[in-house]
């Protein structure tokens, strides 16, 4: 910004300077591995009289039927135990002011929620009851199976879901990450008996991680957890996530969605996990490119050209590896110029170093938003659960600002050359193919999905 105001002052003279950097208070925490193998981390973050709970259990599987069974298991985990029906369980949770959900992705099963501080011990008791004695009643499984099929149908009518699936097929090919959402056929084939067997094999504490964040005393709460969860024990079956296949760049993949009034553009490529030496540099380079509102990509294709409401670029972290994903939904008639500008900005990142002021801006943004994201109970609980699931933890959070502070322009340039070069990425465009084919083919070869 170089504008000079009417009275001769520049904006930098009138916009208030920042005060001294506030010190982030580190929360008190306590950790214990229970005899069952369950790792428990409790962090005190008072503020509101709630506790956030996240239990994470590794749940990857390579069988083609796995995703369907895992999804149906998570949808029926809370539909009955040896002691309570679905409705009794839900009423008991509600009385504690609790909200509890089970969800699954390609890596893990999560049982998580929130509870009024006063109900924590009872909530943990109910969670343990579900883990030990979920029954997967036939009637409830049948009902949830039909609902899951309908929800998948709705999900697959969303352009964002379809474009994401097409990108994952292109990136991950035969890897389980390419089929995270199950097919309706596989869901319909999943029986209560299969779910019970999957539960017996995999819903085990050995590699599990339980995170509690909120208005609690960390040391005392560990005893509460140990007492409430002691009956959940026993060995299970461990399964490793296979490594991701190498990304092979190639023609732009065009996916037809008749009637689409926008083109959903997705680019993807390999990235690195949060503990990699060049991760902080990649994180900052990605922010400069398209990772925040003040990025080059937003300023170009939204604020200058008006092609899109919001382009994004982010690093998605899985146990098997990290992936860079760029997305923009644009009007059909500007799909080709929007893709061209996106590749231009990627190319600029990969061939020229970022400006020092751009790097300082994203550094401040990354440090500041990290502090904001862990300033809430729910944010801290989810962040820690994600970190612990890949072998990182509170110390990573504490140290990360220092790592960000050390990134130089050269580091960011090196990371951009390695991970943001457009030639190393794959491209998928979903939309009305008849309106896209000609424009996109002027930019390079295309193939149909």
């Amino acid at each position: 910004m170089t504008a000079v105001l009417a009275d001769g002052r520049t904006p930098s003279e009138i916009v208030p300077a920042l005060g001294p950097v506030p010190r982030v208070k580190q929360p008190t925490a306590a950790e214990r591995t229970l005899p069952s193998g369950l790792r428990v981390l409790a962090v005190r973050r008072p503020g509101v009289p709630l506790v956030e709970v996240r239990l994470r259990i590794p749940f990857a599987g390579t069988a083609p039927t796995h995703s369907a069974r895992a999804n149906l298991l998570s949808n029926t985990l809370l539909t009955g135990t040896e002691r309570h029906t679905q409705v009794e369980l839900a009423a008991a949770l509600q009385a504690l002011g609790a909200d509890l959900h089970a969800s699954v992705d390609a890596d893990r099963l999560t049982v998580g929620g929130t509870v009024l501080r006063t109900g924590l011990a009872d909530l943990l008791g109910l969670v343990c009851e579900v883990l030990v004695a979920a029954t997967y009643p036939s009637r409830e499984v049948a009902g949830e199976r039909a609902r899951l099929v309908e929800r998948l149908t709705i999900a697959r009518s969303q352009p964002a879901v379809l474009a994401g699936e097409a990108l994952n097929r292109r990136l991950y090919r035969d890897h389980p990450y390419a089929r995270e959402l199950p097919t309706p056929e596989a869901v319909n084939a999943a029986t209560p008996g299969r779910l019970r067997r999957l539960h017996a094999e995999r819903v085990r504490p050995v590699e599990g991680v339980l995170v509690l964040v909120g208005d609690l005393s960390p040391a005392r709460v560990l005893d509460t957890v140990e007492a409430a969860m002691s009956s959940w024990a026993g060995a299970g079956v461990s399964r490793q996530v296979p490594p991701l296949p190498p990304v092979v760049p190639g023609p732009t993949v065009l996916v037809d969605r008749p009637g689409s009034v926008q083109a959903s553009i997705r680019l993807g490529g390999p990235a690195v996990p949060r503990n990699a030496p060049d991760y902080p540099a990649l994180q900052l380079a990605n922010l400069v490119f398209g990772g925040y509102f003040s990025s080059r990509l937003v300023e170009n294709i939204r604020e200058d050209k008006g092609y899109t409401y919001g382009p994004h670029s982010r690093i998605s972290h899985g146990v098997a590896g990290a992936t860079l994903v760029v997305d923009a939904d644009v009007a059909t008639e500007v799909a080709a110029p929007a893709l061209l500008e996106t590749r231009y900005e990627l190319g600029r990142m990969a061939t020229l170093p970022v400006r020092p002021d751009e790097l300082e801006d994203v550094r401040q943004y990354a440090v500041g938003t990290l502090a904001l994201s862990v300033a809430t109970q729910a944010g801290l609980a989810s962040t820690l659960s994600g970190l612990l699931g890949v072998g990182l933890g509170l110390e990573w959070l504490r140290e990360h600002p220092r790592r960000l502070a050390a990134v130089t322009v050269e580091d960011a340039f090196a990371a951009a050359q390695r991970y943001l070069a457009p030639g190393g990425l794959v491209t998928v465009v979903l939309g009305q193919a008849s309106g896209l084919e000609r424009g996109l083919s002027t930019l390079g070869p295309i193939e149909r999905d």
């Binding site: 909200d99 709705i154 904001l372």
Partner: protein
């Protein structure tokens, strides 16, 4: 859970009204080094003129395009390079702008809000650019996705008769494209004076220092006339109304119904039982409609009941509605779903609540209120909304006691008003079913 054990949120609040009429609200809390800053203007979708649908929202975009002392893009950069985030949103009865920042950027955040309250920089180029952006926003959120605008844009024209309440708040493309710089400047002059706004600041600051900063940044903004707040009230429906629409992208049918409810501001005590009722009906697997429609009848895939078209019970004025929405199986008609729901409303109205039902629903509502206000931004926004819509930010801290005062009889009585002859129904046919 006995009523006495329910905790209440408690924040010291400081109020001040500046000479130009700006109402200032401070909620200091030094537990984390972050601050939230929000400005709520008392103008929203219901206030936009006929022929200018979507204008309040388009104008919200224009408030980010440069201001008295700052070029386009500068606002974003100053917030984000301070380590903060920002946004704005347009609602039926207000438009808000907000930032959450590390606490050392408080003065900067206040400056940024004051600078655009002084004068946004509205140019032909920026207007055309943001019309294009808004059109893509509407495409991505409504036109290119199944169930876009269901039911928040589709139900109001069935439920209401007058333009302010019934029209599409995202706007018609023709209306959006015909917007001019003069329209925008006129809208700003009329609807955005300091006296039509609430400034809410929460988080890590000393209240005296913050007040001095507020005075420094906002104090010299000239006062302008406060626009009169129009009366948008409409009479209740005198019979059932129905409309159907075909969604070419939707793979499954859906249905929504709305019933008018008591004035959420003028008759809060009569309105609150409906907030509890909505939770009794659809919060969790033990709720009435989940049990009936999802678990027993299996006609419905997902459902919700809630107050106000935009889903926030405490930041809307009269008239508003209790809304029921459900995605249902193609084998069930909308009437099968609605009839079963009506049976459940009747059961509640006749037999009342079960022992313990009111207490557990109350515990859940309270936990949700706490969860919403744990983030400093959530607190900043909730306090601002209560201050602007209800005139008292303190209502946030009084909510638990108010909820505790809702009786089972009031909830029962509220259920009795959800009759077919008072409802507006929107059926959505699945044009995308294979």
């Amino acid at each position: 859970m006995p009523r006495a054990t329910l905790p209440a949120p408690s924040y010291p609040l400081v109020h001040q009204t500046l000479d130009n009429g700006l109402r200032v609200l401070l909620a200091p809390d030094r537990s984390a080094p972050v601050v939230g800053v929000a400005v709520y203007y008392d103008v929203g979708i219901r206030s936009e003129p006929e022929g200018r649908t979507g204008f309040a929202h388009l104008f919200e975009h224009l408030m980010f395009q440069g201001s008295a002392n700052l070029d386009k893009l500068a606002h974003f950069r100053y917030v984000q390079s301070s380590g903060g985030t920002f946004n704005g949103s347009t609602h039926l009865d207000y438009t808000n702008y907000f930032e959450v920042l590390p606490s050392n950027a408080l003065s900067r955040g206040l400056f940024l809000e004051a600078d655009r309250m002084r004068s946004p920089r509205i140019t032909e180029e920026n207007l055309r650019n943001q019309i294009a952006v808004v059109k893509e926003e509407i495409r991505v959120n409504v036109l290119n996705r199944p169930y876009g605008g269901f039911p928040w844009l589709l139900l109001p024209p069935v439920l209401f008769d007058t333009f302010p309440n019934a029209h599409n708040g995202y706007g018609d493309f023709v209306d959006l494209e015909s917007a001019t710089v003069d329209d925008a400047e006129d809208f700003f002059r009329r609807c955005y004076p300091p006296s039509n706004a609430v400034l809410s600041v929460a988080g890590d600051f000393d209240p005296d220092e913050a007040l001095a900063m507020v005075q420094g940044h906002f104090g010299d903004l000239p006062a302008r006339e406060t626009p009169p707040r129009p009366d948008f009230s409409e009479p209740d429906l005198d019979g059932e109304r129905r409309k159907s629409t075909e969604d070419p992208l939707a793979p499954l049918p859906a249905v929504a119904a709305g019933w008018r409810v008591p004035d959420p501001v003028g008759d809060f005590a009569a309105y609150l039982p409906y907030v509890v009722l909505a939770e009794v009906l659809s919060d969790g697997d033990a709720s009435r409609l989940e049990q009936r429609l999802v678990q027993k009848d299996r006609t419905v895939t997902q459902l919700a009941t809630y107050l106000s078209l935009m889903g926030d019970p405490f930041d809307v004025r009269d008239p508003t509605a209790l809304v029921f929405q459900a995605h249902h199986a193609p084998t069930a008609t909308a009437d099968v779903v609605l009839d079963a729901a009506t049976e459940e409303f009747d059961r509640l109205a006749t037999d009342g609540l079960l022992p313990g039902e009111l207490e557990r629903v109350r515990a859940r509502i309270l936990a949700q209120v706490f969860r919403d206000v744990d983030p400093v931004l959530g607190r900043t926004l909730a306090l601002a909304a209560f201050e602007q819509i209800h005139g008292r930010a303190e209502m946030l801290t009084e909510l638990p006691a108010q909820l505790a005062a809702v009786t089972a009889e009031q909830v029962q009585e509220a259920a009795g008003t959800l009759r077919p002859d008072r409802r507006a129904v929107l059926e959505l046919a699945a044009g995308g079913a294979r």
